[in-house]
Subunit: 712 residues, 2 copies
């Protein structure tokens, strides 16, 4: 059962292909697959296999894959699920390395199908054969004219977009859309049930396929570490847009009945996609907008800062809609045009035109005025990107305007992304054709034209993120020693407080000054050493939420009070009483929650949130994979809104908070904690201070017969 | 200067039309307007006016509007801005009631144009003449074949959508889009600069135009009380979708340079549109989706509760995308199919099909299976709406599937909204044509098909809201007496605390028990009367934020402490010291912010938010117009998240909080306060309690020469 490396050439550049289940019935899928492969100019020999024998398209139908001539690198199975396993056995015996199983009737159809799928994989593993599918439509390479699918012609033209899709139907739909909007594709790969090969196995190679300029991914299985790693390899080179299904409870329920995948909550999965350097699209329409733009633009470059956008229009209304869309996007800002730029614009325009941003050339704008104004904006240092709005111009054809823009774009000395909104429909195909030929993306609303620019910024940042290396801080004690400490926990896995304190200290995490005491006398001694006023916190077996159990007393200012509180707790909790934590009273300040957990798909994650009502009512938290990269840190602070909020109130505390987050993430990456909860972390004038902490270890696998698991 | 009522018939059913500025130059707008009007079968006489005289399209060019034959109800001006005022004088003298001014060169082009626009309005008022524009493209009625615009043919077919647009370019773009997607229009009305007639003047009448089934509005001017009132009249009868420009700072900046309008922040404007019963669209694409659906569906009906949506598909992937979209929408839920429904579905489908929701019929689904399954879902009581997903079906044409669905929809005994996602592009026009002919809206993504259903719920709720009557609670003192109290305020308009207390009492707003004191002795007396522990709050001239000034002391438990605090404040603030507020210490509980302000466009607004960090970092507030309707109350609680948050923690407190909000809103509606701030309102076991309050009166107009205004 050794997994063989993926035989990419066998899948994508096969010398010979066997179509098993080729059929003479014109409405069958086996007929369509044979037709598509025989028509292609991909250069591979195509052999048709059907036990009934006979002939199809002038080719013999071989009775079995065993007897087709050499070489055969790829088998395409279009056979009933019931016979798929035995056919695979033949394929394996024939020494074929790669198989595409289009047939459905496997894990997507209940327990019987799942058993059949396991049998299929077992056969494949035994023969060192790699499988795409089952329940997929196969591979399409528009440049090599290789089409293993059953999709009827016509297909879109060859172009820069690769689409990797778990759903065959979505692949078919996207190809059909490509035809309608003139979007070219390089490859389409449908992975179906992913019984063997997954998106993660295949995606990294797309980085090496020269015709592909951007990759769109539709994924239904959970976002996991393997997918993140694979996407990182890809997005170092090319932008990847991921449309992840199952982002909501309803979607997960739908996906589970379909793929039996158990997804992580979307805020965690999104943290994975962020680390992956991918653009997470929240719907198909957004995915298409980003794909249309990124395939037409050069490799993402720049520092990932906000794009300063200029809007060029011949009508005020659409200009305002575009400005609103810019205003809504964190990634964009409306460019402030300098007086020199405004003066240059003014020269070519009527006096009533507006040369502030949006630049409104008025309804009379000619193709020349569009061209000249665009040139001025592209030359302006204060402009990073331009949105051109083209409602049906009253006096000229949109096609004429489009044609006039192209030389300007081609003459630009430095690339700046430009998008065009062709507002309307009927009057505009000519304009679209011109612009697409010149690799300018066009859209049908001002908002989509702006959204495309958001895609550019995310692609730039994604590439940067894929290249960022997580920072890891080593603990001051040997890891082995720390791991050994984890044995000291209660029945539910909660670590003993003194153990957790030692772990935090090993990562130099700033805790409030504190000490443990058991007796009232000890507590008084400790308190006077720490200095009054102090805080007392109860430690009792089974008490996790100390505040709820009235186990926290704040601001005790003398020995008498300390003694009284400890005596009271002792009496109240009896044998469950373990002791008290005596802390100095920390200075006032805003409170945060810093935490961590281990996700079954993504491993250790850090979380950051504002304390109190914000988290409870607004779920105002953000996640990132541990250990953290710099872009992760930036995202944690931005998405939780802790960053902007602290920047306005205690900006000096931000560097220390970042350092704390890096250290927490290192701890989480090093040690198998199920859960870590630093709550609150108070932002004090001298830096962040952990006021309370708890942690739980991963439950060990239960011993045979044991009712509950318990780590050693 | 008396405003005449709007002569709707003169604009929309004129007996005679004078085109002033009709031109023989084929590229001119005057030529195009004349052509469009002469071609129409609207039944009005069309007279062309041009001082040069001559002939056009076989019609005489009259030298002046003074000499055209009777009757003339409508003048369409396509003349240079410079002569528009004198031409309007002629139109007025001729006794024409209605004018459309297409010419630009007015307020949209700086101060000179604005002066010209004022002159135009002055002429119109003097003659009792009502004006549409300037800077607009006029009126188009597709049913009457009346077209006062310059837009070249072809136009879309006559249909149920009315479009009222401040932007002529957007009107042109939407008509062109209508042609491309086969969306019919009833009327298009372009209001341009709205020098005289505004959207608010015109919209209510659209409710009486039978062919119009839904109204789309593009508005650039601020959402104001007049627009809200007008929309309410309309949305009682027909759904209205409003795309409001200037929702962001960037958009407002763009709109201001274009229309010089000063907009309210979007969260306030949105509260206005909510009261208006309109669907607020956040982008053009959403507006189009809702418009396409609502024109095809009957009048909104139902109770506005969540729609339980069934998804019918032949492929899992798109089904998951649709389920995610359902999961993201507050207005929708995935229907849980009953066993009987699942059994009925099962009968017509292959064993491997999934009959849970989404219903996945598998790729082999035939037109008959689509039809039969849809019929089953429409009959199921647990299903309120259906999304049908139609990727290019491998075995059948999408057109055949579409055709099969139509009899099912027509046979349904009760209307349930059904949308179809035609996934793809090229292969689907036939299916679209069939479905549109049967009034079924189609979209190109699963998400848009789901979004259309959100539109249905919002339309139902909007209609309900337009019919809801705000509730007003009368104060226990005469309003005149309360108004007289408002004179007692400081230089910045802040009301004296005792005045505000009396106002709150008059509306029976629950305040914490409290009393004012000046001397330490008085404070001690008051405190012992209220009962210890007490809270002391400073009142000193110029101190608005008491906590920041260390002017709040909580939990004082004896006379000694009270005396010491009051003495300390007296010493610290000297002559600025006015006294202290002594309050009983309220029980612990969650804290809210309830407030109010007077918006220059929308009048008094109530606001509700969670206290503390939530508001600071997340701007977690919601607004509603005062006084409040029941739907406003629901929205305030939902949008601020106070409702769900309290429901989970202190559900019993909700009725009292609703009552408090109604009373606060009544106070704001009755009295001219600029600002009211009840912060915090604490939710205690016995109900909400106002712990602190401040209010500012509206600044009076400054007296001539006075540096700062001061109310009497």
């Amino acid at each position: 059962m050794i997994e063989t490396r993926v035989p990419f050439d066998a899948f994508f550049r096969p010398r010979g292909i066997a179509v098993i289940g080729a059929s003479t019935r014109p409405t069958s899928l086996g007929y369509a697959v044979a037709r598509n492969l025989l028509r292609g100019r991909h250069g591979a020999a195509v052999y048709l296999v059907n036990p009934k024998g006979g002939e199809l398209f002038g080719q013999p139908l071989y009775p079995s894959v065993a007897v087709v001539p050499d070489p055969v690198d790829l088998a395409v199975l279009v056979v009933p699920a019931q016979v798929a396993v035995s056919v695979m056995e033949e394929v394996g015996q024939r020494g074929i390395q790669a198989a595409i199983i289009q047939s459905g009737g496997f894990a997507e159809e209940g327990p019987e199908g799942a058993a059949r799928q396991r049998a299929l994989v077992e056969v494949a593993r035994r023969h060192g054969l790699r499988v795409l599918g089952p329940n997929c439509i196969g591979i399409l390479d528009l440049f090599r004219d290789l089409n293993t699918t059953f999709l009827p012609p016509p297909l879109p033209r060859a172009g820069g977009l690769a689409f990797y899709s778990q759903s065959g139907a979505l692949a078919a739909a996207l190809l059909d859309w490509g035809l309608a909007v003139e979007q070219g594709f390089s490859r389409v790969v449908s992975t179906g049930n992913q019984a063997d090969l997954t998106l993660a196995d295949l995606l990294p190679a797309e980085g090496d396929y020269p015709p592909t300029r951007a990759v769109l991914v539709y994924s239904e299985d959970a976002v996991n570490t393997a997918l993140v790693t694979a996407l990182r390899e890809l997005t170092r080179h090319k932008p990847a847009i991921v449309l992840q299904a199952g982002r909501t409870a309803a979607g997960q329920q739908a996906a589970a009945s379909h793929t039996a995948a158990l997804a992580s909550p979307w805020d965690r999965a999104r943290a994975g996609l962020r680390r992956a350097g991918a653009l997470a699209a929240e719907d198909l329409s957004t995915a298409r907008v980003w794909a249309q733009a990124l395939v037409r633009w050069p490799e993402p470059s720049g520092d990932g800062s906000r794009l300063r956008v200029a809007i060029l229009t011949n009508a005020g209304g659409p200009g305002v809609l575009a400005a609103d869309a810019v205003g809504q996007a964190d990634e964009l800002a409306l460019a402030t045009l300098r007086p020199a730029t405004q003066a240059a614009l003014r020269e070519g325009l009527p006096p009533a035109a507006s040369v502030a941003n949006p630049v409104d050339m008025l309804a009379t704008a000619s193709p020349e005025q569009y061209a000249r104004s665009l040139a001025t904006l592209l030359q302006a240092d204060e402009v990073d990107a331009v949105v051109v709005l083209l409602p049906p111009p009253p006096g000229y054809s949109a096609g004429a305007v489009a044609k006039a823009l192209i030389p300007v774009l081609q003459a630009a000395s430095r690339f700046k992304p430009v998008t065009v909104a062709l507002l309307g429909g009927y009057l505009l195909p000519e304009a679209r054709a011109h612009l697409h030929a010149a690799e300018v993306p066009t859209f049908s609303t001002p908002e989509d034209a702006v959204l495309a620019l958001v895609g550019w910024v995310r692609a730039v940042r994604g590439r940067e993120h894929a290249r960022a290396i997580p920072r890891r801080v080593a603990p001051s004690e040997p890891l082995e020693a720390l791991r050994a400490l984890l044995a000291e926990h209660d029945a539910e896995g909660w670590l003993a407080p003194r153990v957790l304190a030692r772990l935090l200290d090993a990562y130099e995490l700033p805790r409030v000054a504190e000490a443990w005491a058991r007796t009232p006398e000890e507590a008084v001694r400790v308190a006077s050493k720490l200095g009054y006023p102090v805080v007392l916190k109860l430690w009792a077996e089974g008490v996790v939420h100390k505040s709820a159990a009235q186990g926290v007393r704040i601001g005790l200012s003398n020995a008498e009070d300390v003694r009284a509180v400890v005596e009271g707790w002792h009496a109240r909790f009896g044998p469950r009483y373990r002791g008290v934590l005596v802390q100095t009273l920390a200075p006032d300040g805003p409170e945060l929650i810093v935490g961590g957990l281990r996700d079954s798909n993504l491993g250790p994650l850090v979380l950051l949130g504002l304390g109190g009502v914000a988290v409870e009512a607004w779920d105002a938290r953000a996640f990132a994979l541990a250990p953290l990269t710099v872009p992760d840190l930036d995202a944690l602070l931005a998405e939780s809104r802790v960053g902007p909020w602290l920047a306005a109130r205690a900006a000096a505390s931000l560097p220390a908070l970042r350092e704390l987050l890096v250290r927490v993430a290192s701890l989480l990456a090093d040690l198998p904690l199920a859960e870590l909860d630093l709550n609150p972390v108070r932002i004090t004038p001298t830096g962040p201070l952990i006021l309370d902490a708890r942690a739980r270890v991963m439950p060990a696998a239960p011993a045979p017969g044991a009712a509950t698991g318990r780590a050693q």
